[in-house]
């Protein structure tokens, strides 16, 4: 809790708040809505960049905090931002339905399955970004480059799947409340991947950070 507070008070970059509002892109017709999750990844990159510029690692490691807990604090804080982003996305999905939704030709429609897809995007991001970042905290750009490439690859595959794969085209990429049980299963699978991926990311990141020599 103290480390979460430290991240919020000292490390958060203002873009994190702005990127949360990028969930409003769901209101734009014909837009790949998964990209709004990518923007939150960008905010996480800025947080890590700001941390480097402010010698956050040295400050944190001189507190009565282990390396493992320092990693846990950062990853849990970023995961919390991702969860908030999913909640804000859900609110904009509801707003979109309230004002009248239209089919999205650029990927999944705004709906329950989109939230499941968002969880998959964050799982991919977390599994790549944090372990690479904690190998060398002075190079967050490298970690972000790999993670962003993987996220965009997933968005491209998913968008193509909404045209080519029957389960995506005929089940997930349909306006709610059609196929709600299948969409709920997809979203639960996304949640499981999000939780497992983030836990695995935490494990790998801690191991990487334990071994690294910090260049101060």
């Amino acid at each position: 809790m103290k480390l979460l507070m430290k991240e919020w008070k000292l490390c958060i970059h203002p873009t994190a708040y702005i990127m949360l509002l990028c969930a409003a892109l769901i209101l734009v017709p014909g837009y790949p809505y998964g990209v709004s999750c990518f923007y939150m990844g960008l905010a996480i990159f800025f947080i890590c960049l700001t941390a480097r510029e402010n010698h956050d690692a040295t400050y944190t490691l001189m507190l009565p905090v282990s390396r493992g807990n320092a990693v846990k604090g950062r990853i849990l804080f970023c995961t919390l931002l991702e969860v908030i982003d999913l909640v804000v996305m859900s609110l904009f999905v509801l707003i979109k339905y309230a004002i009248g939704t239209t089919p999205n030709p650029a990927g999944l429609d705004a709906g329950l399955a989109l939230i499941g897809s968002g969880m998959i995007i964050f799982a991919i991001f977390n599994m790549i970004f944090f372990p690479v970042y904690y190998k060398d905290i002075n190079k967050p750009g490298k970690a972000f480059g790999f993670a962003a490439a993987a996220v965009f690859l997933w968005i491209i595959i998913e968008t193509a799947a909404t045209y080519a794969v029957p389960f995506f085209r005929d089940v997930l990429d349909q306006p709610d409340p059609r196929n709600m049980s299948d969409k709920a299963l997809f979203t639960l699978a996304g949640l499981a991947l999000f939780l497992a991926g983030t836990a695995r990311s935490l494990q790998m990141s801690t191991k990487n950070f334990e071994e690294v020599n910090l260049t101060l």
Binding site: K6, K9, L10, D56, M62, V65, S66, R67, L214
Partner: protein
């Protein structure tokens, strides 16, 4: 208070290998309530030693203990008793000092707000300012105020006086002496040896990754003499000298005290000892 009786820091057989530099079997311990100067030229390995001591970098070999507790195994307990200040390191430059303090105090059960107010006032620090608005000397003082407010008994300072003007350096030296009077132990790395002449009790001299001396300031200085000669160094002096340097009037040579009887010599300063020994190492 039991920890005051224990050795604040013991380093045993510390080694770190880089492709172009090796820290070789560094061992020393600190005496409680003293100021220890850790000297050596830039690149000698002072910062590598400190970073290894604090586990910022992982040493290849060696054992570190603070107050009798192994590090990093007992890092939580140890970090409550130590403070680290580095001259080149400024945290969260755009945050107000009060914001940094508010976060820092959460982590220390023994945080003493009265002590914090006392040190902030003594150092003339304004909590509404950001580190970016502070001079280098004031940044060091703020870092010291934080360390002293959580009850640090050992202060590890990496080049704290680098880049400061002589007046600011003198102020900091006075602070270190005051801390010593309060029973704190200060470990102070620097290549500005004149600061240590004013305050250090002990000297550790690191050269090319090897600890060459671990002694009291008086004994370290007393072991050497300086001979001043003209533009030609007599051959007997050449043989006895441990390093020669050009000076305005010719050359100076560093000689071990036991070899100095047959030459006209004077006492050597810390700076002269360090410079001459480095010259000798370069020529070797």
């Amino acid at each position: 208070m039991a920890s005051e009786m224990k050795t604040p820091l013991t380093v045993q057989g510390l080694c770190k290998n880089y492709p172009a530099f090796q820290l070789k079997d560094v061992s020393f311990s600190l005496v409680p309530g003293t100021i220890t100067g850790f000297i050596g030229r830039n690149g000698a390995g002072k910062t590598t030693t400190i970073n290894s001591m604090l586990s910022f970098i992982r040493p290849d070999a060696g054992e570190i203990s603070f107050f009798g507790l192994d590090y990093p195994e007992n890092d939580r307990e140890i970090k409550e008793k130590i403070g680290f200040v580095s001259a080149g390191m400024t945290y969260y430059t755009r945050k107000k000092l009060k914001a940094i303090t508010a976060v820092t105090r959460m982590f220390y059960p023994g945080w003493d707000d009265t002590a914090y107010r006392k040190w902030m006032s003594a150092f003339g620090l304004d909590e509404e300012k950001t580190p970016a608005e502070l001079s280098n000397g004031m940044k060091i003082k703020y870092a010291l105020a934080l360390a002293l407010s959580h009850g640090a008994e050992l202060l590890i300072l990496d080049e704290p006086t680098s880049g400061l003007d002589p007046v600011s350096r003198e102020e900091l030296v006075e602070v270190f002496l005051k801390l010593k009077d309060e029973g704190k132990t200060v470990f102070f790395s620097t290549h500005i040896t004149s600061d240590l002449e004013k305050c250090a009790d002990r000297i550790l001299f690191l050269q090319q990754g090897e600890l060459k001396a671990d002694d009291t300031l008086e004994d370290f200085r007393d072991a050497w003499r300086i001979a001043e000669c003209g533009n030609e160094i007599p051959s007997a002096l050449q043989e006895a000298a441990c390093g020669r340097c050009r000076s305005r009037d010719g050359y100076t040579a560093l000689i071990r005290k036991e070899n100095a009887a047959s030459f006209e010599t004077r006492e050597a300063t810390l700076e002269e000892i360090m410079i001459h020994l480095e010259k000798e190492a370069e020529e070797a």
